[in-house]
């Protein structure tokens, strides 16, 4: 049972990281991009390729994977968000980001292959470490680091405050002279880097696998909805709850109930507290 708890927390941390990535993109664009989970997939796949394929040292490979994630984040904003937002108030970004995510996944499958591939050991450690193995706690450490880093970024830096300003009222921010297009691009770059970092940290847990993205996109969204859209604390709590509940559902009932229970939790929270556990209900001015 302790294993179920630990593996649930590890998987939940990855969902939490995906939810944090959603939050960063949402703060400046009000878009919930379907590419969110794919950013982590890129971190895992490129991390494995740069280290095992090209033989780069781990720190350099980490930087490379994060840079690729950031580049894809910017590309997402340019290709699937900017033009769509400028032409329509409808939620067409759902389709454009879904299209981009599908193209990315297919492209990675063609290049990388459809079988999972190994991810290197990041810290020297014997495989007999059991539940103290780095594959469990690295994703947790990274999720906490990302949440903490975001809080510091939002509260202590000028760009962070610009993100917050856009989050609260993009039109007012633009009227105050804030370059909103640039800030939105930066937020997608940051989200890409964060997603890739989370995927890199969790590579030993997930393997380097082309189809990881959609799973994380879905579970990250559930974590976000449970925790509350826009709340980083909510993202952490929602992700961990989802991971642990999924692990215990598998432990006690079997894997066939895992997804049903995860979606059931989402439905329950949305019914009882539509804004999520830590979300604030939006006030509609009349």
């Amino acid at each position: 049972m302790l294993t179920a708890l630990v593996t649930g927390i590890a998987a939940g941390a990855l969902y939490a990281a995906a939810a944090l990535v959603y939050n960063v993109m949402f703060s400046t664009s009000k878009v919930l991009s379907v590419t969110t989970g794919h950013l982590a997939m890129l971190g895992g796949v490129f991390g494995a390729w740069l280290t095992a394929g090209l033989g780069w040292p781990l720190p350099v490979a980490l930087l490379g994977a994060v840079a690729i994630g950031a580049a894809f984040g910017i590309a997402t904003e340019w290709i699937a968000i900017r033009r769509v937002l400028s032409r329509s108030d409808e939620h067409l970004w759902l389709l454009s980001t879904l299209a981009l995510a599908t193209m990315l996944q297919q492209g990675v499958a063609l290049w990388w292959g459809t079988e999972p591939k190994p991810f290197p050991r990041l810290i020297p450690q014997d495989f007999s470490a059991g539940l103290a193995d780095q594959k469990y706690w690295l994703p947790v450490a990274i999720a906490l680091l990302l949440a903490l880093g975001l809080e510091v970024f939002y509260r202590r830096t000028l760009y962070g405050k610009l993100f917050v300003a856009m989050s609260e009222d993009a039109f007012a921010a633009r009227a105050r002279g804030i370059p909103t297009d640039l800030i939105r691009s930066l937020s997608f770059a940051l989200a890409g880097a964060m997603g890739a970092l989370a995927g890199f940290a969790a590579g030993q847990l997930t393997f380097a696998y082309f189809a990881l993205g959609l799973t994380l996109t879905l579970n990250g969204f559930v974590a976000l909805a449970v925790g509350g859209l826009g709340s980083n604390l909510g993202a952490l709590v929602g992700g961990l709850l989802l991971g642990v509940i999924g692990a215990f559902a598998t432990y006690y009932l079997g894997g066939e109930y895992q997804q049903t229970i995860a979606v059931g939790v989402l439905m329950l929270v949305l019914l009882l507290k539509p804004a999520g556990l830590f979300g604030s209900a939006s006030i509609r001015p009349v």
Partner: protein, 395 residues
Amino acid sequence: MFGVSLRRRGLATVAVSLLVFQSPLSTAADPVRIGWLSSLTGPLSSAAIAENQGVQFAVEEINAAGGIDGRKIELITYDTQGDPTKAVNFAQRLAFVDKVHFVIGPVNSGESLATVPIAAKAGLPNLVIGTIDELVDPKRFPRAFRAINTNRQWIVAANDYTLKVLKKNKIAIIGDTSGYGTSSAKTAAQLLEAAGVKPVYSVLVDPNKTDLTDELNKAKEAGAEVIMPWSAATGLLARLLNARGDMGWKVPIVGHSAMMAPAIPKLLNKPEYWADAYATGYVSTTYTADGKLPAATKALLDKMRPRLGGKEIDFMFWWVALGYDTVKIVEHMVKQSGGTDPAAIEKAFVTTTNLKGVYADYSWTAEDRNGFPDTGVVVNAANSLKDGCFRAAPR
């Protein structure tokens, strides 16, 4: 190397292989048109890529020898990308636009479930290469004939090995939550119970589950002496082997052939974790006690080696042999029936007994459309891949 070139080929929506050599007879005779539905790209493409090598080679070989009774083979290949929707569209195109005489495939059972009825409706002979039971039915699909083994044959072989060779009857079954994993685990449990053995532990897990230590702990607590996984997900199987190795539990694992996949050892924490694992394979690609392969397999290996890179083969050769045999089966049926009339082809199929192939020797009857013999399945040592073939599990 060949995988890369094939992927490029697979990027094209349609690849049409036409005959290279022209014989005087073929100018007058219509070609035998074979539709080949293959998931050359996308998930589960590795088996399809290998099968495609066998299919292409057989077509070239037959055409180079003058064709089938003077009729060259025209192979029309569509890449389904493992997507049942695409497979349906391509099956309809093969039947009603390309007007093929035979359909081979699709490669995956899920796609075949969608396309077999289409071929049946068009009255086309269909060589089925998916393993699930529902794909053949003499009443509903009278011209669908299976060349590959059934899933049940694999499960029976694994159960027999566990009960009769290892002499263990405390068995834990682990299936994945895919349609295939779920039905296979259920069938395995049913067959064991029919043999008087109730599994001590059964569970279904998500194919992407990141750790299986819990499941193995439960199996151990239940007294399991053998773990039997039914999943084609190499990631899940590798995690199972890793969990067993990290626990230090000396328990044999007997199950699905994907446990022998070349992708597995790369995912293991330690190479020795692959030992004491046994998977279902084929007599045709199993070395005899003196280290030799069946003559037909050896001959095909030698003939195809230059095409496969000229070096030791590092993937499962049985896929190539199956692809090769499907075209040779078509050749046999056309010769036996004297043409490509579907009714005559059906008659030729149901009267075929012990047709010698590389992958297996095939027999079909009016009642049984499964051509692969029970005796063609064996259990291999999972970690014994050598030149595309395997060593038999210890007996």
